[in-house]
Symmetry: C2
Subunit: 511 residues, 2 copies
């Protein structure tokens, strides 16, 4: 039986419920996601949550409970952050929620919140050293990690809602207001001297960060629909902030990509990012769409240990993808074996100069080449490209995801050319040759297991009279595969400018 | 347990194995498809299959068996057509196949073949009256149906391979050769006087037909990847034939879209279509990618009864799509109820002039609006559009499929505009208003069951003081849905230029 559970994040700006389904293999899939903009930080009066805030919270939680009841879900992980943590009557509030809805809300410490942000990033991004910043409505968490290990963390008691209240009076913030906000932030950051001059990427988490990515992607007509792992320069961030600052709220709401219910508080959020980049002397901001909830999820599903290597993250995310789209694993692993064996033997004979970067791409592509068949066996290459370029494969950059998608879906130069043209902002013409060559390797590897029965169990590349021969060690003579290898081999030979043929070797031949 | 089975079509030009998986609900999915170009018609010497033809057949069938064994499939439906039917030693051949591979091949009569073609078409196309023509390598089957019922059928003992052998000597067929072929075809058709001057669409089945669609779609850069139900005019067919005829074989092979191993026989095939259109005085040719194998499948899965109405075909194909992409059915049916109820009540109040065409589109869209969630809950509208515009929904024309996809995936005018632009060759600007209005109806209907718990069980549209009110009959007060209806209602009101609000009515209120 699949297990369903809900994760509720009662944030200071937004309350959100996410419903997950976990299958027998442990694979977790998000199946529903609903948010309510409660703005609880606005209901903190003299350190207490006011009656309206309490009522809104109870009402919102009751509605979430209704959705969970409708799905027969009793397994609920609920956490609350700054607004409830900071409210004197926070404990009364969680007790009332429990009485009225049965939901047990755990109030996170700032340190917990920071650690969950780090966990979300480290489990889903290819990055060795960085600063995470998660801006919520009423608090802001920062961490610093090196060699993927958490080094420092801190929680500031201000967020986009409270900073907006504190510093911005009118519709359009004044120069002075911005100056005062920046001064306040500098003073605040100085309580974390370990942030100073780190010169490493800043990873931005939370709704403000996702919205920043969306606004920027719209403005440059970015060719992928993915916020996670979206890289921006400090200069791009500053430009967006400068474009939005002089606009009245109504005009700001009309900016393409901006979230309408965030337009009033986004300036404070972007200023925090901008100030942090200055303080840390960083030039790169990377958006993470994984945050608090995902950190909780990683802890629940994988335990608190952060994985030590990006390799493990890759293996996990590829396995999840394979499970999710019901790949025939024996076939996929066999195709991977053949593809990597060819890659390595060509390398041993000094027939290419590729390294581990390209080998990893080929490996991922080989394991995932069949995902499109879930959609339909017809035009499955197109579907494979669609899935790999649209659905998050955690731990890879956008460029890597596209290269994997193109190699996995490689069928013809015509199709590849249209993909390269569409994504010319992410991949470049020089990638064409790489994709073509690895693509033909993969097509051959696939044909070597066309019957999906692992009838050819190993291959050996040998040189014979000016040309190369792939000796295919097979279970029997006359395998289906042998009658299908000529075409992919001819194309491979052409792409690699290398005359290659094959020779069947039956197991009994050698005994 | 899912049942897997293989269907083998030992044709006169091509042998093909298709592997299907049938789940407990009866849904059949194609999971593998492999073909071998055997050209058996070329091996008929004086009415006997020659030794080489026999050897190639045995070898090919053994390879199919290997693939089936690798998948542990023992359930095999194998049929042979003209080449084996016409060979004096056909019976010996099928006996040898049985001895050497265990596969029992059933040799189809020409009448069977014709009927299967008709069954494939009638079960997958929206057409009341038509002529089907299925050209194989060694025979050609025609049928005529009216009111979706089979009226006549016939099998001619010639196909693309044999006609090419008989009439075309050199690389480029001469005018005289074409003239002789056309004369021969006219004489042949005259044995079926029921074909003459029918003036109904000709539905072309088989590899030649699919290749024709591909060539034409390439030449006009058609915006959908779908051959089935692709409509062409007789003039378009004639133009392609005239473009291909003067080319030497090698140049013909380079024509975009042409199948390389069919380039030598395609001229004969296209001439047959062209002659039939003349003979039947038809101006419309519709390509069917469903053929013999699908007819067999329909017979196996649904029995031989052809469905009486397109409505049943639609219901079946929507249900298959829903099963395939694991839709929450209770929710989908509830959304459909709400959407159609709104549609009908607006109609009753004379607030729109739409009819059953639009109502059917709305119904299909409502049932299928969630298919994209199978891919990912994020950006699920985009995925819904991708699936509905890329995966065949049998029984609908291309335009209908796109309209359903656009209504089901409707989220914003921006997204719709990009879809309309991409498919401007199939849908037109005038469709925008329809999609927008039905799209907003559907968005409201979805929100009326946002908790997916059918908490609002019926709705009533009533007029009150110059504006319209939707009374929502719900199980309880304070439903999640009520706090989410304002936005879709405001947008609906704007799109329909109709002020609409809502009023919760709790079940107990009325007692």
């Amino acid at each position: 039986m699949n297990r369903n559970f809900g994760v509720i994040d009662l944030g200071s700006n937004t309350a959100r419920l996410v419903v997950y389904e976990q299958d027998k293999q442990g694979l977790v899939t998000e199946v529903d996601n609903i948010k309510r903009g409660l703005r609880l930080s606005n209901h903190l009066q003299n350190g207490r949550m006011d009656d309206e805030g309490v009522a809104k919270t109870i009402h919102g939680m009751r509605q979430f409970k209704e959705l969970l009841d409708a799905r027969n879900i009793n397994d609920i992980i609920a956490v609350a952050t700054a607004a409830v943590r900071q409210a004197e009557n926070g404990h009364e509030l969680t007790q009332r929620i429990n009485q009225e809805t049965g939901i047990a809300v755990r109030v996170l410490s700032g340190e917990d919140e920071a650690r969950y942000g780090y966990l979300a990033v480290i489990n889903s991004m290819k990055i060795e050293e960085g600063i995470t910043i998660d801006i919520g409505g009423g608090s802001t968490e920062v961490t610093y990690f090196r060699n993927r290990q958490l080094q420092e963390s801190f929680s500031f008691p201000f967020g986009i809602v409270t900073l907006t209240q504190m510093f911005f009076q009118g519709d359009i913030p004044t120069e002075t207001e911005f100056y005062q906000l920046r001064s306040f932030l500098s003073r605040s950051f100085s309580s974390c001297p370990w942030l100073m001059n780190k010169q490493c990427p800043v990873i931005a988490i939370g709704g403000t960060a996702r919205n920043l990515a969306k606004i920027h992607q719209r403005s440059v007509q970015y060719s992928m629909d993915s916020f996670h792992h979206y890289p921006m320069t400090g200069w791009q961030l500053t430009t967006i902030l400068e474009q939005l600052s002089p606009l009245p709220l109504e005009a700001r709401r009309q900016v393409p990509g901006i979230s309408k219910d965030r337009a009033d508080v986004i300036l404070a959020g972007l200023t925090v990012f901008d100030s942090l980049l200055s303080y840390a002397d960083s030039t790169e901001l990377i958006v993470s769409s994984k945050g608090l909830r995902d950190g909780i999820l990683f802890e629940t599903v994988w335990g608190t240990e952060a994985p030590t290597s990006i390799r493990e993250i890759h293996e996990r995310s590829i396995t999840q993808f394979m499970n999710r789209y019901q790949i025939d694993k024996a076939h996929a692993y066999q195709v991977k074996e053949h593809a990597l064996s060819l890659f390595d033997q060509l390398q041993a004979h000094d027939l290419h100069k590729y390294g581990s970067f390209e080998r990893d791409l080929l490996e991922a592509s080989a394991l995932l080449h069949d995902v499109g068949r879930t959609i339909n066996v017809h035009e499955s290459s197109e579907h494979t490209f669609y899935l790999l370029s649209h659905v998050l494969l955690a731990g890879y950059t956008h460029r890597e995801r596209l290269l994997i998608a193109m190699i996995a879906a490689f069928k013809s130069n015509k199709l590849l050319q249209s993909q390269l043209t569409k994504h010319a902002d992410i991949v470049c013409k020089a990638d064409k040759n790489l994709v073509e060559r690895l693509g033909h390797l993969l097509l051959l590897a696939r044909m070597l297991d066309r019957s999906m029965s692992q009838a050819i169990h190993s291959i050996q590349l040998v040189e014979r009279d000016q040309h190369w021969v792939i000796e295919c060690q097979g279970k029997r003579a006359g395998l289906l595969e042998y009658s299908l290898l000529d075409e992919p081999l001819a194309k491979l030979s052409k792409a690699w400018k290398l005359p290659i043929t094959f020779l069947p070797v039956t197991d009994t031949d050698k005994t």
